[in-house]
């Protein structure tokens, strides 16, 4: 009789063949039980049912070239001709047509600055200079009025550059305010504590749309006549104030996750409150809440479309402008798919970047 365990001399024992590799994966992930097998088959069926028609509509039967709407009406699939006709209106809104190279360039500059900032090795003082330059250049290109560029009022700004500037400023502006509010809410000084709690609870209890509405219509009533605050600026401030309240609670959660021992050992070394907060507590607290911070920022990015109610035309708003054309209004699905893809691209990027950042800042076990 051969021994029961038939290990060949000279080779280490290996796991059974059906528990590793493709076969093992299929077994454990898709067919581990009767119920799982049924679910797997149902899902495959669902995909077979949905995907081929979708591909037909989006790709195979679609009108890809520039064509008049009549051609689209005859075709079975999607009418991407809409984008040939309206892409620039969707992307840049009411910005003067011949000057649209300027928002394009401004947006490119902004994207380059964002890309630079994503690299941790560039987190140096000069990056602040890069951002100052970027914003100056962005404003210069968008407003114009110098160097032979015609002046373009910011009520005419629209589309993707507007969405981007509202989001970028929203993030950059709300972040320090949120940190201050979170620290204030944990403060032992009663007035600072009460102000922070009051602010956070008040703003969180109100929808963004009403904050925008108040900023746009009620705020001017309180100003002396003749003083005018720019419409875009008012919307921007409203977004910053709104986001900061949510972000403050996220950051407070991070602060609470830091063990008291960290604070105590910093104090016992003689570090004062601000040194302890900026060098010991905040870096750990913020790292701990990267996922919910990015969550808030993704919300903010999409919520910028609410500025439509104060007659600013962000990406979604300018799509509505484009679809107001009676010749093309039947092809709204294609328009929304296009805009959705742009939103998705940005949000997906933020999500992936947050994962990258988390892994970069990982330094072994937490205390």
């Amino acid at each position: 009789m051969a021994p029961v365990s038939s290990v060949v001399a000279g080779s280490a024992p290996r796991p059974p063949a059906d528990s590793i590799g493709v076969l093992g994966w299929l077994r454990t992930r898709l067919f581990s039980s009767v119920l799982n097998s049924i679910l797997t088959i149902l899902c495959i069926g669902l995909l077979v049912w949905i995907v081929p028609p979708l591909i037909d509509w989006m790709i195979l039967d679609a009108v890809w070239s520039a064509a008049p709407p009549e051609v689209c009406r005859a075709a079975e699939g999607a009418c991407w001709a809409l984008l040939h006709e309206k892409a620039r209106l969707i992307l840049f809104g009411r910005y003067p047509y011949v000057e649209q190279w300027r928002p394009l360039l401004a947006m490119t500059v902004l994207i380059v600055a964002i890309a630079l900032s994503c690299n941790r090795n560039f987190w140096r003082p000069w990056l602040a200079g890069v951002w100052a330059g970027t914003l100056a250049l962005f404003g210069l290109l968008m407003w114009g009025g110098v160097l032979g560029m015609t002046y373009v009022e910011n009520t005419l700004w629209g589309g993707l550059p507007l969405t981007m500037i509202l989001s970028v400023f929203g993030m950059v502006g709300s972040f320090p305010l949120a940190v201050a509010l979170a620290l204030g809410r944990r403060s032992r000084m009663p007035i600072i504590h009460a102000l922070s709690v009051g602010y956070i609870e008040l703003i969180r209890g109100v929808p963004l749309i009403s904050v925008l509405f108040m900023a746009s219509f009620m705020f001017p009533l309180f100003l002396p006549s003749g003083v005018k605050v720019d419409e875009l600026l008012r919307a921007q401030v409203a977004i910053i104030l709104f986001t900061a309240a949510y972000l403050a609670e996220v950051i407070r959660g991070g602060l609470q996750s830091i063990p008291r021992g960290q604070d105590e050992s910093a104090k016992s070394l003689g570090l004062n409150y601000w040194q302890t907060t900026t060098m010991i507590v905040l870096p750990q607290a913020l790292r701990a809440v990267i996922p919910p911070i990015v969550n808030t920022f993704i919300s903010l990015f999409k919520d910028t479309s609410l500025v439509a109610i104060v007659s600013l035309f962000d990406l979604l708003g300018s799509l509505r402008l484009a679809l107001a054309d009676p010749l093309w209004r039947n092809y709204f699905i294609e328009g929304y798919v296009f805009v959705a893809l742009i939103y998705f691209f940005f949000c997906f990027f933020m999500s992936k970047y947050s994962q990258y950042l988390e892994s970069q800042l990982q330094t072994g076990h937490r205390p």
Partner: protein, 254 residues
């Protein structure tokens, strides 16, 4: 050593606690604590858990506030003035049960942070000093790792080195070996013994009686928020005066 003994005898108390009381709400944690520690003296504090040992030494660098009585450290009285508290804290090193290293900084950064920001030591100088202390606690090769990558014993030695980098006059140890695996206790105690033999003023809350016998100048036994007994170790272990001390010693010495 002779010099040291002379110096000890000559100098007055560096820590003075007189009639110190503290309450947590209604609960009386510290009851009329009187304790004087001379420069260079090594004091070991023991007692059952909840007896107020940690609270007492945490009052010395004001991690806890006392409500009655006086605490004077190195000639500075601990009152609510933040400047004075910071000044006292600069002169007192503290080692905690759970190490409390900064997990987002490397070992070297942990050591140089306070010298650079509190004492304004130039980076190069702070790093050289830090490396010298890491040599002393025998882990210079770990300088560029993060605390999370070190064993408990190594982390506690880093914590001791981090305190020493501030060149403190007094070191407080709050159960420094209680969170360690048994095989790592010795490496930490060895560092503490070496430090004691170098003449550092130390107050150490610990249940390591072997360590206490080796280095302590005086033993303090606390129970129920009071100092029950203070005596040199030979007397303390041989002829404890109070019944409570006897009971405690019989429980921890097998």
């Amino acid at each position: 050593m002779i010099n040291l003994a002379e110096r000890r005898a000559a100098s007055g108390p560096v820590i003075q606690m007189a009639g110190v009381n503290k309450w947590y709400g209604e609960f009386h944690v510290l009851k009329n604590i009187n304790l004087e520690v001379r420069s260079g003296e090594r004091v070991v504090v023991c007692g059952p858990s909840g007896s107020g040992k940690s609270t007492m030494i945490r009052c010395i660098n004001r991690l806890e506030e006392h409500q009655k009585g006086r605490i004077v450290v190195d000639g500075i009285e601990l009152i609510a003035d933040l400047k004075q508290i910071d000044a006292v804290r600069r002169e007192i090193g503290m080692v905690f049960q759970h190490f409390n290293l900064f997990p987002h900084m490397t070992v070297l950064e942990n050591l140089t942070l306070a010298p650079m920001w509190v004492r304004n030591t130039p980076r190069k100088e702070a790093e050289d000093a830090a490396m010298a202390y890491l040599e002393r606690v025998k882990i210079p090769e770990q300088a560029h790792k993060f605390p999370g990558q070190l064993s408990g014993g190594q982390q506690q030695r880093v914590a001791i080195a981090r305190s020493l980098c501030m060149k403190p006059k007094i070191m407080l140890f709050d159960e420094p070996t209680s969170a360690l695996d048994p095989e790592m206790i010795k490496e930490v105690l060895d560092v503490m013994i070496e430090l004691a033999q170098g003449g550092m003023t130390m107050i150490c809350v610990t249940h390591e009686m072997g360590f206490a016998r080796t280095v302590a100048d005086s033993m303090v036994f606390m129970d129920g928020g009071e100092i029950v007994e203070k005596a040199p170790p030979t007397e303390f272990f041989k002829n404890p005066k109070s019944e409570r001390t006897k009971l405690f010693l019989s429980q921890i010495l097998h």
